[in-house]
């Protein structure tokens, strides 16, 4: 029997022997009625401090919404971004909800939820642009923030043979201005957070095609928190189905006037 268990994955073993499935994190959340969520309140609009020093933002509301589906309360614990994984490992928090990018190298240490926001690199164009896909950038004037991920990917596309002209700008605002105000460029490469914020300010921008580089934000949990992971997955699905995630996005980024085109 022991030998058989060695051949099985952790999940398969756990399904055979219920006592192995014990998820201490999930049990503790239920017992105390509190889900301790770690975040670094320095990344608006996902997390920041309000005038009274209380944490607010997309992730704070997301944590409260997920906790509510379990009938418990979310307790927000402010932790520096780089210290979040260690804080989770030491059991001082139950999860990280802090615009935390998925990292496959950490799957031995942690469990992850499905992404709830992709902050990756997008192509953005004015709403009246004929550009519909990456291939349409050939022969175009494309703007990037100098030194950014967009700049790096733009140079990579050029090295790989895409004939487009790359123009650098010093800030995201200057970049967007060159696209919408001066029409100096026909498309820009911009991270999805900045794009969504610009849309929320009412700027006539739309993202086209899939992200050129994906940066999915996920909820991070302890490695042995099987049950918690399942509960988080169910809650996110539930919130998605009820339109709560879309409302959260609108609350913290502003309304999105233009339908995204990712095909």
């Amino acid at each position: 029997m022991v030998g058989l268990l060695w051949l099985l994955t952790a999940e398969q073993s756990a399904s055979l022997l219920p006592f192995l499935r014990r998820d201490a994190t999930w049990q503790a959340i239920q017992q105390r009625g509190v889900w301790r969520v770690g975040l670094d309140p320095s990344f608006p609009p996902f997390e920041m401090l309000d005038a009274n020093g209380a944490p607010v933002g997309y992730d704070v509301d997301l944590a409260h919404a997920v906790a509510a589906t379990w009938g418990v309360r979310a307790e927000i614990v402010a932790v520096g971004f780089d210290s979040l994984p260690d804080t989770l490992k030491t059991g001082k928090i139950d999860s990280i909800v802090s615009a935390y990018p998925y990292d496959e190298r950490l799957t031995q240490d942690f469990r992850f939820s499905a992404p709830y926001f992709d902050a990756g690199l997008r192509i953005a164009v004015p709403i009246d642009s004929p550009i519909r896909a990456l291939t349409d950038l050939t022969g175009r004037q494309v703007g990037v923030e100098w030194g950014s991920l967009g700049d790096m990917v733009g140079r990579r596309l050029q090295r790989n043979g895409m004939a487009m002209t790359l123009t650098p700008f010093e800030t995201p605002d200057a970049l967007i201005g060159a696209l919408l105000d001066t029409r100096q460029v026909e498309a820009i490469l911009l991270d999805a957070v900045s794009l969504r914020q610009a849309q929320g300010r009412g700027l006539s921008l739309r993202g086209v095609d899939a992200p050129l580089e994906s940066v999915p934000y996920v909820i991070v949990m302890p490695q042995r928190a099987y049950a918690l992971q399942e509960q988080v997955a169910a809650s996110l699905q539930q919130l998605q189905a009820r339109g709560e995630l879309a409302k959260l996005e609108e609350r913290w980024f502003g309304a999105q006037a233009i339908e995204e085109q990712t095909e």
Partner: protein, 373 residues
């Protein structure tokens, strides 16, 4: 009859074993003569600014091909100087038994790429420190062991390495094995190692200091202000036991022209360290910045925007070249990590772990090699 068959079988087995041994010997000899990763032809660094340098991080890079590629890309960027860490514990894990394989690879490839290599020495093996201490802790009773290792290191690489840094950021408790930083004790370490190094390679330049820029208040458990620590080193007689001051010059969110101020950590804090050298009669001595630069992490409080990072970096190299005659090289942190650190540290790099050049790499290369956009 049975005995004869057994003898024949044993002879056959012996022949097979001899054959296998012969093949293995052949492979070993061939590999010795023809390394798995050829060094390639001798290269030269072409640059408009001979002070450009970078700190590589090859310590944990296990693939020789990647060691070579890193150093090739440093040369291609137009940086003649590299700083690299050679942990004592990796080389002498047991007393008197040495594993030079990795260090040999780094030194050979750096040399072949035409780079001037500055070797940082530190990281204490378990046998040379008390149990329950970190590899950054060294008792005075083991200073001789470290000094002997340092001398052996410079002797082995004589002609290929002319600069060694003794220890790193001894003014921080973290880097001093969580003991209280002590300038007099660090000076004692220099006093122990310096003569042994000079005895085997008098031309080798011994770098000391490499102090962390910090505004730690008096009595802080974390460290000692670098300006105070350097003066305490001089007070303890350090001047006679180093040839070049190693400086760490981080800009945090200040531009490289922000004026020096003892109450601020910025790039030109290096000038304050230089002033302490001059004040202590060490004006003739040179300095090298062995760590420094800017970070463009989107969330780190000490970071700048990516465009600022590029502009500040180019200006810093130019400032070092035009305005700091006492400085031999500006080696910024850090060229590349073998794998992502998953922290703000990733935003100090010039190339990604997969060797894709970041824009800052391309812009420094353009500046250094006078390339047109």
């Amino acid at each position: 009859m049975m005995q004869r068959v057994t003898i024949l079988r044993n002879r056959r087995l012996l022949l097979v074993l001899i054959g296998v041994a012969g093949v293995l010997l052949g492979v070993w000899v061939t590999r010795s003569m023809f390394p798995a990763v050829p060094l390639g032809p001798q290269q030269t660094v072409y640059t408009r600014n001979p002070k450009i340098g970078i700190h590589t991080r090859l310590t944990d890079e296990v693939e020789e091909q990647k060691i070579k590629r890193s150093l090739e890309m440093v040369r291609e960027m137009g940086a003649p100087w590299v700083v690299e860490y050679f942990p004592w514990a990796y080389i002498e894990n047991e007393p008197g038994r040495y594993n030079w394989v990795h260090a040999d690879q780094v030194v050979a490839h750096a040399s072949r790429q035409g780079l001037t290599l500055i070797a940082r020495l530190g990281f204490v093996p378990q046998w040379a420190r008390p149990k329950e201490t970190t590899p950054l802790y060294l008792d005075e009773g083991n200073f001789d062991d470290f000094a002997r290792f340092a001398a052996l290191f410079v002797e082995r690489y004589r002609g290929k390495i002319n600069y060694v840094i003794l220890w790193n950021e001894p003014n921080l408790a973290l880097e001093w094995g969580y003991a209280a930083p002590d300038a007099a004790k660090y000076t004692a370490l220099l006093r122990t190692a310096y003569p042994l190094i000079k005895a085997v390679a008098p031309e080798v330049q011994v770098l000391a200091g490499a102090l962390a820029p910090t505004l730690a208040p008096p009595g802080s458990e974390f460290g000692v202000d670098d300006l105070i620590f350097l003066q305490e080193m001089y007070d303890a007689g350090a001047a006679d036991y180093f040839d070049v001051l190693a400086i760490h010059a981080y800009g945090w969110h200040f531009d490289p022209d922000s004026p020096p101020d003892p109450a601020v950590v910025n790039f030109r804090r290096a000038e304050l360290l230089r002033a302490i050298m001059v004040k202590n009669g060490d004006a003739a001595k040179r300095a090298i910045i062995t760590e420094g630069g800017w970070n463009d992490h989107p969330r780190w409080t000490r970071a700048v925007r990516p465009a600022q990072r590029i502009a500040y970096t180019l200006r810093a190299y130019e400032l070092a070249q035009q305005e700091w005659p006492w400085l031999d090289a500006l080696c910024l942190w850090v060229f590349r990590f073998p794998w992502d650190q998953n922290s703000y540290q990733d935003y100090f790099t010039f190339v990604r772990t997969d060797f894709e050049p970041k824009p800052i790499y391309t812009e420094v290369q353009r500046y250094a090699r006078n390339l047109t956009p």
